[in-house]
Symmetry: C2
Subunit: 247 residues, 2 copies
């Protein structure tokens, strides 16, 4: 499967993620300036994009595919601390090193900006800084929501939480009804799920089987998931049953 299946010319105006990325509100002249400092890079599934501690020469956006941020302890225990989806921003203007490993979970296409020029542009262009602040605040909310999952939820609730997050993201791309059935492919191996959830891969496997046995999800093969009732899944996750959709 090609990650570039859509006809994308490499021009910002065609960019499939532009309306959600850092450059969402840029004017034409600003886009032109971004064009001049950007380049694309592709990474194969499993490849490391940035090593923890490396100095980063670029910042950028994920255009296609999924990348993950992970931290690893000396003895090998690892925890995934973020999932980067198309339009998500990578890098930290104003600091040189990365604090985490960034790894391509699927094949990934990134739109990179050379760091120095990007920072200069940001200094001149308040609404890029503003957009980045909003995106960072969203990430902070997501990280904190995940702290609740890691600290207080049971294995079953953790799995249900992960599935409902992935399902919700897919929904925002191809809108099914929010409370109807939902179908998607898991972009993560059992091991990656375990690293995200603070579990072992065996426990992940067992709980997936349990949710399937109890009719909360249907599995076709190992990765293709059908959720017949999102409300049910969100109850299993321990969230409000409406998932905040009624507000």
């Amino acid at each position: 499967m090609s990650v570039q299946s859509q006809a994308f010319t490499g021009n910002c105006s065609d960019c499939p993620v532009r309306h959600r990325a850092v450059c969402a509100h840029c004017e034409i002249d600003e886009l032109d300036e971004l064009e001049s400092i950007k380049y694309y890079r592709t990474f194969e599934a499993g490849q490391t994009i940035i090593w923890s501690g490396d100095k980063m020469a670029f910042v950028g956006s994920v255009i296609a595919g999924i990348a993950s941020l992970t931290q690893t302890m000396e003895d090998g225990r690892t925890q995934m601390v973020g999932l980067l989806l198309p339009s998500d921003f990578v890098g930290r203007p104003g600091r040189d090193g990365s604090a985490y490993d960034v790894t391509a979970t699927t094949d990934v296409v990134m739109c990179c900006f050379r760091k120095k020029p990007f920072e200069q542009l940001m200094a001149r262009t308040p609404h890029i800084a503003h957009r980045l602040l909003q995106m960072t605040l969203d990430e902070l909310d997501a990280a904190r929501e995940w702290m609740l999952v890691l600290g207080r939820k049971t294995a079953r609730e953790k799995i249900a939480s992960l599935l409902s997050i992935i399902a919700r993201r897919d929904a925002s791309l191809s809108p099914n009804g929010p409370s109807g059935a939902m179908v998607f492919d898991l972009p993560l191996t059992r091991e990656a799920m375990a690293d995200y959830l603070g579990l072992t891969l065996e426990t992940v496997s067992r709980q997936m089987s349990a949710l399937k046995r109890d009719g909360v999800i249907l599995l076709e093969g190992k990765r293709h998931v059908t959720v017949p009732d999102m409300g049910r899944l969100m109850e299993e996750a321990g969230d409000d049953s409406d998932g905040g959709l009624m507000a």
Copy 2:
């Protein structure tokens, strides 16, 4: 104990946290403008500052004392998702509701800005937005470091991690030698520690006793802690033994 023991007149130029807060790099005229939209509020230990879901009329900085951000599930399980120390920022420009409960853990003094005018000032003043971005990125790093603690560390490592974070913060205020002995008072009850660490209070108590028995810490009463060897404590926490201080 008064939280306002330092002679603080209520004027920005005397503010004990100014060099670390949002307004760190403000010029005199900007400070004047902040003066005109700010007011102080005090909260007693245990009081709720903001309820999850409330609309917030203000943003602001913690001036003295410690506040915490917590999330609670319907069945009462709670997880602390952030610890707010003096100079930390509260609130989310550009969004109305809080996603968490904000609670005063000790007596707290806050410097509040009315939200609307603050947002307008921010729009006109790029370096306030820039400072806020930096602070938010720092918080994001802290949240992600905490995800590793919650997801992968043992109870003993969790306690050691918390103690070393608190010790390090105190060190940054009153500089002892970084690898010598360190003395501080715990600002948290056992229950609050448990909520931060994703443990029960009984487990916290047992592990505190174990660290004391093993000579990693000394306890005088329930709250007064002496760490004879910070390196040892950081090993117990599962971090690099140098804690990044050798870099």
